[in-house]
């Protein structure tokens, strides 16, 4: 009884260990798929609309076995990376520039805000018209998403640079360029790194949405194709692959983040932590 109460209401003290947590997570996952399978097997949910987990997994397996999925994964990956790289570069440069040029940023402030307010999906047809159905229209869509996240973070990072550190560097003899390189840039980058996850996520959203709306390859394109022929299992299979893809990319970002932010205090640190 108390165990059940604890489960739902929460309890004080430590969580159970990692193995038992993993076990619970597996139980939730298996339970979900088992229920889904059961409901569609007995036609309580129509398999035409809801697919069937067995079929979805079989389809996914077949796609990987025949190797025809790799080209789509590759295309989406390339689009994501390009959108991320271009958007980040643009955001850093323009963000830095605007933060150091108050007049410029004052003039452009309303336009930046307006541009950021546009729902980016509506730009997809324009980009398709301009850049065709190849990867560049998807990259462009991703860039419009990534750019603003990075831009605002870098702008903020430069604006909110620690004044004591800045003054300290000036007293230590830094000239304008050295201040930019050793104070402003690292300060802006710390903000940038903390938005890495969002930026990469947006790059991927841009790529997939772009593919979904009109393309000749990519994960979004496959989902749109299956949907076009009412192939529910194909849609779910596409979603499954996309989910795994996102988790993999996110893991890589976490790894990079850990390396870049090694100077950040971690909660587990016990080295000389008396002060």
């Amino acid at each position: 009884m108390t165990a059940i109460k604890e489960f739902f209401v929460g309890r004080d003290g430590n969580l159970p260990g990692r193995p038992s947590l993993l076990l619970w997570q597996f139980v939730v996952l298996a339970g979900f798929f088992a229920a889904w399978q059961f409901l569609t097997d007995h036609n309580i949910l129509d398999p035409f609309f809801f697919g069937s987990p067995k079929e979805i997994i079989a389809r996914t397996w077949a796609d990987f076995a025949s190797g025809q999925i790799y080209i789509h994964l590759w295309i989406t990956l390339i689009e994501t990376l390009l959108a991320f790289a271009i958007g980040t570069f643009g955001g850093v440069v323009i963000g830095f520039w605007f933060a150091r040029a108050p007049l410029l940023s004052a003039i452009f402030d309303p336009f930046i805000k307006a541009a950021n307010a546009i729902p980016r999906v509506v730009l997809a047809p324009i980009f398709a018209l301009w850049l065709g159905l190849g990867i560049w229209s998807k990259v462009a869509l991703g860039v419009t998403l990534v750019f603003f996240v990075v831009f605002f973070n870098v702008y903020q990072g430069v604006k909110e640079v620690n004044l004591v550190i800045l003054n300290n560097s000036r007293v230590l003899g830094a000239n304008r360029n050295q201040l930019l390189r050793t104070v402003y840039l690292p300060s802006a980058l710390t903000w940038l790194f903390s938005s890495l996850h969002t930026a990469v996520g947006f790059a991927l959203v841009g790529a997939v949405v772009g593919e979904y709306l009109g393309a000749s390859a990519g994960l979004g394109y496959r989902i749109a194709q299956s949907e076009g022929v009412f192939d529910t299992n194909g849609v779910f299979s596409g979603m499954l692959i996309l989910t795994a893809f996102v988790i993999a990319i996110d893991a890589v970002v976490t790894l990079i983040e850990k390396r870049l932010l090694v100077w950040r205090p971690q909660q587990t640190t016990t080295l000389n932590a008396q002060g």
Partner: protein, 285 residues
């Protein structure tokens, strides 16, 4: 003997008779943030610091003590009056002769201790290997030899202050400005740091302006104590030279009768100003 000493001085570069720092009628008025009235922090400050002299500035909170340091460092330009460094007027720009130990954390959290300490040399274009060696030597000197590659967050408050001290001293500034550098430390660490600072200072005497709100700290370390009036528009209301023998131990000297006499004399002046500040605060409430 005297001649020999003079020779040594000459070899160290020309020592002019001009004071290390000379503030003349310095007034600093800050334009308040939009809407509020302009605020005068300090008014008509006249202050000379001789080369090698250790001067403390005390006063009630918010009396513009830090403003004096910022003017001397060249971080702010006085609204009126002038500052001269070794006789040369400071017109715009930074004062290249000064090192500044700030009250709050000034270390870059993304740099290791060595990288932080070597900053001043890096800015002067010293090559990285030499700068690293010098930084390592200074870390050793402040007792943090084994903490080269630690990041600031891995150090205690006292250790971070030592790193900041090494960072300030590595460029060999002729004038050292300190803004309540030890106020955030616990009392034991603080007295330890005070003694270490006195030892470092005694090794090659620099001019020091030491800002503090702690009168005992001021007396036990300085050659001279300057008392500022309550703000706004603070001015100097008293100067006391401290003729206690050196070398001093900051915790022991507090118990001597000489110390207590000086303390009584200065406190008589300081108390009035502190009460004024306190009175204004209560009245505002």
């Amino acid at each position: 003997m005297l001649v020999a000493l003079k020779d040594i001085d000459d070899r160290n570069g020309p020592r002019s008779d001009a004071p290390a720092v000379s503030l003349r009628d310095v007034t600093c008025t800050f334009s308040g943030s939009s809407g509020s009235k302009p605020y005068t922090a300090v008014q008509n400050i006249n202050l000379d610091i001789a080369d090698g002299e250790f001067v403390s500035v005390v006063g009630p909170t918010g009396c513009g003590k830090s403003t004096i340091l910022n003017v001397t460092a060249g971080l702010i330009k006085p609204s009126k009056g002038s500052a001269s460094i070794f006789g040369a007027p400071l017109v715009g720009g930074m004062n290249p002769q000064s090192g500044y130990l700030f009250q709050s954390e000034a270390l870059m959290p993304w740099r290791t201790t060595v990288q932080n300490v070597m900053l001043g040399l890096e800015y002067r274009g010293v090559d990285v290997a030499t700068a690293k060696d010098r930084a390592a030597w200074w870390l050793e000197t402040v007792g943090l030899g084994q903490f080269h590659d630690h990041y600031p967050h891995q150090l205690s408050g006292g250790q971070r202050k030592r790193v900041a001290l090494a960072q300030t001293l590595i460029t060999d500034p002729k004038i050292i400005l300190m803004d309540e550098p030890f106020s955030a430390l616990d009392i034991q660490t603080r007295q330890l740091m005070e003694n270490e600072l006195l030892d470092l200072w005694a090794a090659d005497r620099k001019a020091v302006i030491f800002v503090t709100h702690d009168l005992e700290e001021a007396i036990s370390m300085s050659d001279r104590v300057v008392v500022l009036s309550a703000g706004p528009a603070s001015c100097i209301v008293g100067e006391f030279s401290i003729d206690l023998p050196r070398p001093r131990d900051v915790s022991e000297i507090r118990l001597t009768s000489g110390f207590l006499d000086v303390h009584k004399a200065i406190w008589a002046t300081l108390k009035e100003e502190v009460l004024k500040t306190y009175g204004k605060r209560s009245a505002r409430r």
